[in-house]
């Protein structure tokens, strides 16, 4: 293989696939969310465009492509235009370090199923996924309108606050795996035979609650609570720029679900590893298991949204600062103590 193929063409192909992957998931999620929430509420949901309405997201996209782009008169034009792009590309960026499976051998070459790996991959992913908060606050401020500004402030304080329990929950995983490399964390779970989600259920619950809050999803969707803030930080956006915020939110959900699966549910490992009778589960490629697990957590997002009513903002802040952070700290101490006492 020539160096050009190995260092440019193959990475470019992988990058195209990795950028396409959240986009496809966004399309699937838009359909899934509207249909499932509708069915849970005893409605039908979109079922006209294509079989069971599967082409509805495509129709939505075409509509948004041709929509007029409105910029409020008093808006800061530069920031107003930059922020959707910032939100979009920062939500894609973190996928660079998320592995999709063990390296695959094709003929004589080995293909790694990640674009870049790093010994501190986990920290990089957490950091990169938080950049989008800048896009949110820029967009909310640049609109120069009351609801976006309020929504942006809420979003920032919510994302920041919930980052602390996320960090503490992730810390327990790093503590057990003794590594911040995402591939290494999955390998450690394979070696230990127990997925960390079952070993440390409290960490998983804390991480999941914080993840729902960080993606601004119901019941923590205060930044875009339509009953009080119209549409939150993207009230003034229309057309494709509005779609960018929407797509970034869904891409972020896919990212968080991938992280949950990697950190707590063994990534691409098949379930029931030790059981000999179920060895046929290993015949299914790891990537399929990975996708199935991710889809489960994406479904869980929709399920939670259809089940729970929205929080009030002060109870949201109280939940994180007075319940989740002490709980996560105590959980971390218990994990560390158990490890050192054994």
């Amino acid at each position: 293989m020539t160096p050009f193929v190995a260092d440019v063409l193959i990475p470019l192909g992988k990058i195209a696939a990795v950028i396409l992957y959240p986009m496809v998931m966004v399309v699937v999620m838009i359909w899934l969310e509207r249909r499932v929430v509708a069915l849970m509420q005893g409605r039908l949901g979109p079922n006209r465009v294509g079989f069971q309405g599967v082409l509805q997201p495509v129709a939505d996209a075409v509509k948004l492509f041709f929509k007029e782009d409105i910029i409020p008169r008093q808006a800061d034009k530069l920031l107003f235009n930059i922020s959707p792009v910032l939100v979009m590309f920062s939500s894609l960026l973190a996928f660079c370090f998320v592995p999709l499976g063990e390296p695959v051998r094709i003929g004589t070459t080995t293909l790694t199923l990640w674009i870049a790996d790093s010994p501190v991959g986990l920290l990089i992913v957490l950091g990169l996924s938080s950049i989008s908060v800048f896009g949110v606050i820029f967009g909310g401020w640049a609109s120069n309108s009351k609801y976006p500004l309020m929504g942006a402030l809420r979003s920032v304080i919510q994302v920041l606050s919930y980052e602390i329990p996320t960090g503490l929950a992730v810390l327990t995983v790093v503590f057990l795996a003794r590594s911040m490399d995402l591939v290494e964390i999955v390998r450690r779970q394979e070696a230990s035979g127990v997925w960390y989600g079952f070993l440390m259920p409290v960490s998983f619950v804390v991480f999941w609650i914080s993840a729902v809050a960080e993606t601004n999803r119901a019941p923590f969707d205060l930044p875009e609570a339509e009953s009080e803030l119209v549409a939150g930080y993207h009230t003034e956006y229309s057309g494709m720029k509005f779609a960018y915020f929407y797509m970034a939110e869904y891409a972020h959900m896919v990212l968080v679900s991938s992280l949950v699966v990697i950190l707590f549910f063994g990534g691409w490992l098949p379930p029931f590893q030790g059981v000999k009778a179920l060895a046929f589960l290993h015949a299914v490629p790891g990537f399929i298991w990975y996708l199935v697990k991710i889809m489960f957590f994406l479904y869980l997002y929709v399920w939670i949204r259809a089940t729970l009513p929205r929080y009030r903002f002060d109870s949201l802040i109280r939940l994180v600062w007075k319940w989740l952070i002490p709980l996560a700290l105590a959980n971390f101490l218990v994990v560390a103590l158990v490890r050192f006492l054994r």
Partner: protein, 123 residues
């Protein structure tokens, strides 16, 4: 160095994708000169009450952000220790307990000072 190159490539491609899609849509979308009430900030159909929305906001947002910085930095100080804790042994663990105790003092102080409240009258 290879990983840096791959990340750089990814950065370029994702920026090109985000900007390019928006640029493409700018070519095909419906265009008209924006005039009149369409460009007013959205306030449920009535004229905006104030010329600008950037007025003073609640101090609580800033207060919580300050507390956040302390906590976030302290949390991420723990990560290197979590990776090498088995090499440091009990000594490292005791060090971390001392570290957390100091963090806890600040936490209790912030709680008692009412920095974690979001509603007037709760503190």
């Amino acid at each position: 160095m290879k990983n840096y190159w791959y990340f750089f490539l990814f950065l370029i491609v994702s920026v090109l994708f985000s900007v390019g899609l928006l640029g493409f849509v700018a070519l095909i979308r419906y265009r008209r000169r924006l005039v009149g009430d369409k460009c007013e900030p959205y306030e449920c159909g009535v004229d905006p009450a104030t010329p600008t929305a950037r007025e003073s906001t609640s101090i609580r947002f800033y207060l919580l952000t300050l507390v956040f910085i302390v906590f976030e930095v302290e949390t991420f100080f723990l990560f290197p220790w979590a990776v090498v804790h088995d090499k440091l042994g009990l000594f490292g663990f005791v060090e971390v307990l001392v570290f957390l105790a100091i963090l806890l003092v600040g936490y209790v102080y912030a709680w008692k000072a009412g920095a974690l409240e979001f509603r007037r009258g709760d503190e």
